[in-house]
């Protein structure tokens, strides 16, 4: 799953990473088909941030666009990583839950709505504490409820990456697409450095960080489905292809024994870096 760089194409590409959440969502849908649901003018911002002297954003950092993909109905939920690190507060999370639940209702009524999540988030919004945690649990439940009907496709493009409770949401999705710029993990490197010391993790060492939790590494050890170039067209193509593909017989989260065996095979004294994990897990084919 390595990425070869065609220089002409690379220069001609339109970066997906550099797009705002709203632009990303529209870039995945058929041109001109997207209509925003609960947009900024509906002013569903967080009431909790202002109480803590933090400037809110009117869409609370989550953009929900309903439109068409290859002519089929689709809903794209994009998290804006630039606002509060894409953190999940009450409103932001609830917008994701509602989008997923409405997609499920569509399927129950025979409308084949395709759900896509563009995850760019550090996880729970600490200022909203339990409300954020609760809504992340609801997102997990909504993904699990929806995925028997249709693949739930997630993209992590970077540069924020996807962490904390939302990394679990990513792992629950049917199809996971990353760029090499993306990172996916439970604790972010800064948190690990702070909690376990710089000897355990030097968060300033980007090569080290990406060798452990970057998109290329995650692809090499079989924890994601697609590694794509930072190109809006390539991401849109991968998302569309994910809906054409046969649904996974078993989601990763259902392969408990397989992953328990994998974890049991790790000797922490031996597997100390990304390369060692690749050697051990290889391109772990999903059963």
């Amino acid at each position: 799953m390595s990425v070869t760089i065609d220089l002409q194409r690379f220069l001609a590409r339109r970066s997906f990473v550099e797009l705002s959440a709203r632009e990303r969502a529209h870039a995945l849908l058929d041109k001109g088909s997207g209509k925003e649901l609960v947009g900024p003018f509906d002013r569903q911002h967080s009431v909790w941030l202002e109480m803590q002297n933090i400037v809110p954003q009117e869409d609370d950092g989550v953009v929900v666009i309903h439109g068409r993909m290859d002519g089929k109905p689709a809903v794209v939920v994009a998290i804006e990583g630039a606002f509060q690190g894409g953190s999940m507060g009450e409103v932001a999370g609830q917008k994701i839950v509602c989008a997923l639940e409405l997609a499920k209702r569509d399927h129950e009524r025979g409308i084949p709505t395709r759900p896509v999540l563009l995850l760019e988030t550090g996880g729970v919004r600490l200022q909203e504490a339990n409300l954020g945690l609760a809504v992340i649990a609801e997102i997990h439940a909504a993904i699990i409820a929806l995925r028997p009907y249709v693949p739930v496709v997630a993209v992590i493009a970077g540069l924020v990456g996807c962490f904390g409770g939302m990394s679990l949401a990513a792992a629950l999705c049917s199809h996971l697409i990353l760029t090499r710029q993306a990172r996916l993990g439970m604790n972010g490197p800064e948190v690990i450095e702070q909690e376990a010391g710089i000897a355990e993790m030097d968060a300033g060492d980007k090569r080290l960080v990406w060798s452990l939790i970057g998109g290329e590494q995650r692809a090499a050890v079989g924890l994601i489905d697609d590694l794509v170039e930072d190109d809006a067209e390539a991401v849109a193509h991968a998302v569309r292809a994910a809906f054409q593909a046969r649904r996974p017989v078993q989601h990763r989260s259902e392969q408990v024994d397989f992953f328990l065996e994998r974890l049991a095979a790790i000797d922490p004294e031996q597997v100390k870096d990304g390369a060692a994990l690749r050697a051990l897990w290889g391109k772990g084919e999903v059963k």
Binding site: P40, F41, E50, I54, V55, P56, Q57, E58
Partner: protein
């Protein structure tokens, strides 16, 4: 966080609204929509305290050229005056489309 309010005289009616920017570091979000009366109203929420005189100057300059009857809401996360002016111009441009 400071909350600031400004009012300017407006001349031309506008019919559309526009949304630009994000509340990210060094950036700001602007919501621009038709004003309920014949004036222009600006409400600023900014993460940087104590800069009301600078906001006044930036907005004075903006409304010395722009005469739309608009309600503008700004959610600012430490944008420089230059950035604020660019986003205001972008909002007016989007509104006109």
């Amino acid at each position: 966080m400071d909350v600031l309010n400004f009012t300017y005289p407006g001349e031309t009616r506008v019919s559309h609204r526009a949304h630009v920017g994000v509340v990210g570091s060094g950036d700001l979000e602007i919501l621009l929509e038709p004003s309920p009366d014949g004036a222009a109203h600006v409400r600023v929420r900014t993460s940087v305290d104590g800069y009301a005189p600078i906001w006044r100057k930036v907005l004075d300059r903006f409304f010395s050229r722009y005469k739309g009857c608009v309600s503008i809401e700004i959610n600012d996360f430490g944008a420089t005056p230059g950035m604020v002016m660019l986003r205001l111009q972008q909002a007016v441009e989007e509104q006109g489309q």
